[in-house]
Symmetry: C2
Subunit: 148 residues, 2 copies
DNA sequence: ATCTCAACTGCAACCAGTTGCGACACGGGG
DNA sequence: CCCCGTGTCGCAACTGGTTGCAGTTGAGAT
């Protein structure tokens, strides 16, 4: 049961419209899933959820849409230390960059916002004269519970 | 032409010996390549170079050895913003962690060592009570030359 | 030096992600 | 409202990374 097209287009759809990106039935399904996902979906999960909204969605369309959203800077791609297999995870890019920590024992994923991270990025921009578009800090280790 | 086994075993082989890891003909070839690589090899390059030392080396052995070295903390795995395709890059882990920057236009890869990065990791360990084993900061953007 | 056996390997089948192609549908203009 | 052009889609073939298996080999013990 697809969302009514006229209501709640969601931010991602709005951003795409602003940028003149063509909106298709399949993209609506995929964006809808990304929009409402609690967190960190991999491509297979995204495909399954999108197919519940539009059964015709194909694997290749999911990957193509992920590439599009990545290029547009609307989502981030994560490894999460490849805790489960080899694939990547995706999440909506929010206002503030955050760090990801993955516990190598229990698999828990934690997020952390830090001013020092912002300072580090400024240092890179200044000292290396490098204009940052996207940044990813991922840490593997042991969470408070598992390091006891 | 394999290196003479008795000379210059290389640090990676030494580390493996210390840890009681069995040394095979194929691993010697692969470690030899990692040891002497200038930088950032992907799995296909590594396979080709290793096969020049030992033609019997198989794709699956390369991946299995990479997994071993990763688990042992002897190499780091990088995305380098997937500048070329989807795969991963590998490099010997050295004394000091460094940041990777990839230019989205010319593809140049830069490295940077920063005390602020070290401070950020300390903050994570303290504030999140998270024991860090491995960390990866990768940045995409435009290098000094390309951002003009 | 030889024996022994768990660890390792190549192989082939498998699975996840990519790509070329002809069909289709979004959405701007008439 | 319908037409049209082009961007997107599903499909199927392909590529790169993984895995189960049966044979091989490294290295410690005798
Ligand atoms: Mn990755
Ligand atoms: Mn490096
Ligand atoms: Zn944990
Ligand atoms: Zn550049």
């Amino acid at each position: 049961m697809p969302l009514p097209q006229t209501e709640m287009p969601g931010r991602l759809q709005a951003y795409c419209a602003e940028r003149g990106i063509r909106m298709t039935q399949q993209r609506r399904a995929i964006l809808g899933v990304m929009e409402t996902a609690s967190k960190h979906l991999d491509a297979a999960q995204l495909l399954r959820k999108a197919q519940k909204l539009d059964a015709s969605v194909d694997r290749s369309t999911v990957y193509r849409t992920l590439r599009l959203l990545k290029r547009q800077g609307l989502i981030d791609e994560l490894d999460l230390m490849h805790i489960h297999g080899e694939g990547h995870y995706y999440e909506r890019k929010l206002n503030r960059d955050h760090i990801h920590m993955a516990c190598l024992r229990c698999g828990k994923i934690m997020e952390f916002v830090s001013d020092i991270f912002e300072k580090l990025k400024s240092q890179v921009e200044k000292d290396c004269r490098f204009r940052i578009v996207v940044s990813r800090l991922e840490i593997g280790g042991y969470c408070a519970h598992c390091s006891k």
